[in-house]
Symmetry: C2
Subunit: 267 residues, 2 copies
């Protein structure tokens, strides 16, 4: 909590302190903005993506000023089509998205802000704006599932995070009486000694793929085993993979736009 609060205050202070220059005063800015392909309303589509988890956080639109501002402040800024005005995400809610890198697509009309969100990205309080899933039944019929309260169940989880959800589901079911044999995940969750034995074993088997030259396919398979068993072990300790990714970024990450913008101005 403390970390989040401090970051938030830093961000709010940063917004006030960071004087945003018009594009003409920033070297190369007009040329960059000219290279983008603006629609009839002077906008490009912008996708904000979580730098650690890859989650698509929100999708909105930006005009020249919004892109110009984002590149200077390192805070995700858009153009609100409904309010017809500049919109720095988080300025009222505190839920900024700190942008480290900005990319344009092959036809220059779609932008990615790669960043680190402070709090939920969606105005509903959900982590991302996608929590409503079209479900196709066995008869091909279509229905909709998902409310923002159930974001975790009906948002687009990529493989690693889908596995994390499955492990959590097994854990949630542990108290319940279920027929038949418990799943392997449930057995591991119930038996920390077995779990630790497996993690050590799987690490050994991964090493053996290199030591014995067992080939790439076998190595991928053993890594999958090690990752799965380690994630069960993390679940028992309440550690989400997102936290592991944050640690990796802090160790190996290069500094981005946000970090540059936050530096004190040169004297």
């Amino acid at each position: 909590m403390h970390r989040g609060y401090r970051t938030l205050v830093t961000c709010a202070a940063a917004v006030e302190q960071r004087a945003v220059k018009p594009e003409s005063e920033v070297p190369g800015m007009s040329a960059y903005l000219d290279s983008l392909r603006w629609n009839n309303d002077g906008l490009v589509a912008v996708i904000a993506q979580h730098v650690d988890t890859g989650e698509v956080l929100m999708q909105a639109y930006s005009d020249r000023n919004a892109i110009c501002e984002t590149l200077q402040t390192g805070l995700a800024t858009f153009y609100s089509r409904s309010r017809r005005e500049r919109w720095c995400k988080g300025e009222t809610s505190g839920h900024f998205i700190k942008v480290s890198r900005v990319f344009a697509d092959c036809d220059k009309d779609s932008i990615i802000y790669l960043g680190d969100p402070i709090g939920p990205a969606c105005h509903t309080g959900a982590k991302t704006c996608w929590f409503s899933e079209a479900q196709v039944g066995d008869d091909g019929g279509v229905s909709t599932c998902g409310k923002h309260e159930h974001h975790a169940a009906h948002s687009p989880a990529t493989t690693l995070y889908a596995l994390e959800r499955t492990i959590q589901q097994r854990r949630d079911e542990m108290g319940q009486q279920k027929e038949g044999k418990p799943s392997w995940t449930a057995r591991l969750l119930a038996d920390p000694v077995l779990l630790c034995k497996k993690v050590r074993e799987e690490a050994g088997e991964l090493c053996e793929t290199l030591e014995a030259g067992e080939g790439a396919e076998r190595a991928a398979s053993e890594m999958a085993d090690l990752l799965y068993h380690s994630m069960v072990l993390l679940n028992l300790q309440g550690v989400p993979m997102e936290d592991v990714m944050r640690v990796l970024r802090q160790r190996f990450g290069t500094s981005g736009i946000e970090e540059k913008a936050a530096r004190p101005p040169k004297q």
Copy 2:
């Protein structure tokens, strides 16, 4: 290669065989399409995302028919604004995107197709459409970097894949004379015995966080260590994390729209 080819043939055959029904003949389809918020041109923005890596593959627009078709065929279909026609991605190039899940955002005007791409998603041959990065210099000046040939260097890598690139970079530099001490990654890459020793050690240390109750922060840190060292070991064997994710999905994944659409019709 064989796997890719087989999948492609399967997809092409599937397109021909899958009769797409009009929305009125699919239970719930019209209600679902009515729930989306179409712009003045009758379109919604659509983001195609890689189910394993989380990469944003492409961003385009869909009309009612394109969403209706995607939900039935499990193949990413859009509306081409330039050609003013239906556009099933891959129909001419063979580079389909197999869609497993479809999501709408909180205001129902932005869609995510979560899927598995067959080959490159971009028409340039790049893996995704984002390979052009806005670079901010130390003076705040802006320039653009990246061509499709250099996709791997200037596309939005999230933390795990950015780390993977860093490891590969260290490996690429190994032949070169460099001043000063080699990086830890370079030392590990050059010494498989040390590397395997470290992977086994880190697995042990991760287990100890549970055995000795060392707390969540320590567990996240040890998992980061294990992941990093394992990824160096995978690099030595030419195994990308994407392959590991594919193995995990094949083991733990639930079937999606594409799988349902590919089932033979009931007699």
